[in-house]
């Protein structure tokens, strides 16, 4: 399997209009590790996740995943890399209400022609849905699901490409305690099963003991000059 350790050096990024600046001199996340990124609101947790994923392009420094340098890729290369290697779980689920559960899971395949959409993908989608308890809801619209089910669906979508890195942006932020535990176990188990690196942004301190490492951006990261 290709190496997927995350190496960040001298990373800078800023939102000039908002007077926000993020500086990460050095950050290493070893392959297969489960890491939490914490910090107060506005310190740049989500921005860091976007920079690692290649959604944002840094103004300086490097982000390397294994041997690939995200910062040296073209836009197209970054997109293809992201969709193939990074599964992103968003805080607000970001499901498409007009698609059924099964279609939401395979959405990365529908959006990017570089991924081959074959029968095996549908089987994998079904298998993922069953593993998170959505096996009997494949043909429902996402709007018909409960909050917990929506988050589980979002997890399936993030995992469908079998990514080597799972990024989760406060995936339990909208869930109650019971659902939070379920979702956390689910993601961690899935990550372990595929030996993926799991990076999760959270402000829920009680979850931190479940991670191998914790990066606190309040100590070394973003600051708001405004």
């Amino acid at each position: 399997m290709k190496s997927h350790a995350i190496e960040i050096s001298d990373l800078t990024f800023s939102y000039e209009a908002q007077g926000f600046e993020l500086n990460i001199p050095q950050l290493s996340i070893a392959e297969g590790k489960h890491v939490a990124i914490v910090g107060p609101s506005g310190c740049g947790k989500t921005t860091l996740a976007y920079l690692i994923s290649g959604i944002h392009v840094p103004s300086g420094g490097n982000v390397d995943i294994g041997r690939d340098s995200i910062t040296r890729m073209t836009d197209g290369q970054r997109r293809d890399f992201r969709i193939s290697n990074i599964g992103f779980i968003f805080q607000e689920f970001e499901l498409l209400e007009y698609l059924r559960v099964e279609e939401n899971i395979i959405l990365p395949y529908l959006l990017n022609a570089s991924l081959e959409l074959d029968k095996a993908v549908y089987e994998r989608a079904r298998s993922l849905a069953e593993s998170v308890g959505l096996g009997d809801k494949l043909h429902r619209y996402s709007g018909e699901l409960s909050q917990g089910e929506k988050q589980r669906l979002a997890i399936c979508r993030a995992l469908i490409t079998d990514p080597c890195i799972i990024m989760a942006d406060e995936p339990t932020g909208n869930l109650d305690d019971g659902n939070t535990d379920t979702i956390m176990d689910l993601i961690r188990n899935q990550a372990r099963r595929s030996d993926a690196t799991f990076v999760m942004i959270t402000h829920e301190r009680h979850l931190l003991d479940r991670f191998d490492d914790v990066v606190d951006l309040a100590k070394n990261g973003g600051r708001n000059s405004g």
């Binding site: 976007y50 970001e94 007009y98 698609l99 279609e103 959405l107 022609a113």
Partner: protein, 389 residues
Amino acid sequence: MTRLLLLTWRYMAFNKIKSSILIVCLTVTLFLPIAVHVMIGHYERDLTSRAESTPLIVGAKGNRYDLVLKSLYFAAKNPESITMGEASAIAESGRAMAIPLHISFAARGKPIVGTSLDYFEFRGLEVAAGTLPLQLGDTVLGHEVATELNLGTGDVILTDQTSLYNIGAVYPLKMHITGVLAPSGTPDDHAVFVDIKTAWVVEGIGHGHTDLTKTEDAGIILQKKENEVVGNAAMEEYTEITADNIASFHFHGDLSGFPVTSILVIPNSEKSATVLKGRYSVSPSEQMLVPALIIEELMGIVFQVERFFNASFVLICLTTLLFVVLVVMLSLRIRKREMETMFRIGCSRSTVFSLQIAELGIVFLISLVAAACLAGLLVWFAPQLVNVM
């Protein structure tokens, strides 16, 4: 591409109302100019073909359009009458065949056309059942009249009362249907045909009543002279022409002075036509018209209206375009977050743009197909629609 189309289709199917409104707007915008063009085209062909098959029309001086439309289509205002003597004069000149038309009354809302047997031969009309109007009171229905009123040979039809409040007005005449015409796809399908003398009876110029010279009922005699018997109001006037009373029907006065709406003139030759036109050009009370020229004039007005419509279609198209742009802009705003999610997952901006284009493309394609289907239906039904209109 298939994947994009699937996503687009799912979005459209989920947002049925929005998609339907867009499709209906575009369909109507595409269909309207086609509809007007098709209908005017059919209308023109319909008007022109009948006009071109009618060489000349003679009628009272006045509105030329009313005279031609009344004589060809049995529609429009009643023009002033001329006399039957004009028809006789034309026929006696040996230069043309003259077919009188009396089109002033209606039976169950359908125009009654009083004419001669020559009319049926001239228009190529044949009966599908029964016979042509051979004697007084015989009535032949146009195909559509028979179908619409569910009448046939052996049935009767009443003429419409001309005035409800005039007690001196002529009573409606019960007419016996002796034939039904085969469909011709012309205004003849929508008319009720009688002999011109029957039309005069309907008008009250001719009538039938008890023979006062033979009656034994003294109560209906008002005055009895040597050569004349005058009946009073109790005298029975027939409102139905039957085999028993047909002989009693008669006309007071000279037939040549009786009214006709117009005369269809079929000249023997161009020279005859020219001579007749010359004769009527100096007539103080009658005019001779070439229907094809009048219809051409009329179509000129219709085409002007069509040009006006076309100009307004440009505005309609512009409005629809602005509406579509507005919907797309609002849609983009509503879907901004969804688009951003797609991008964050790994979709290119161009793919996101393609989704919008695909949606518009599908909407346009469906609208185009719907407009084409409607246009097809319109072309199919246009002849009937033109007749109905």
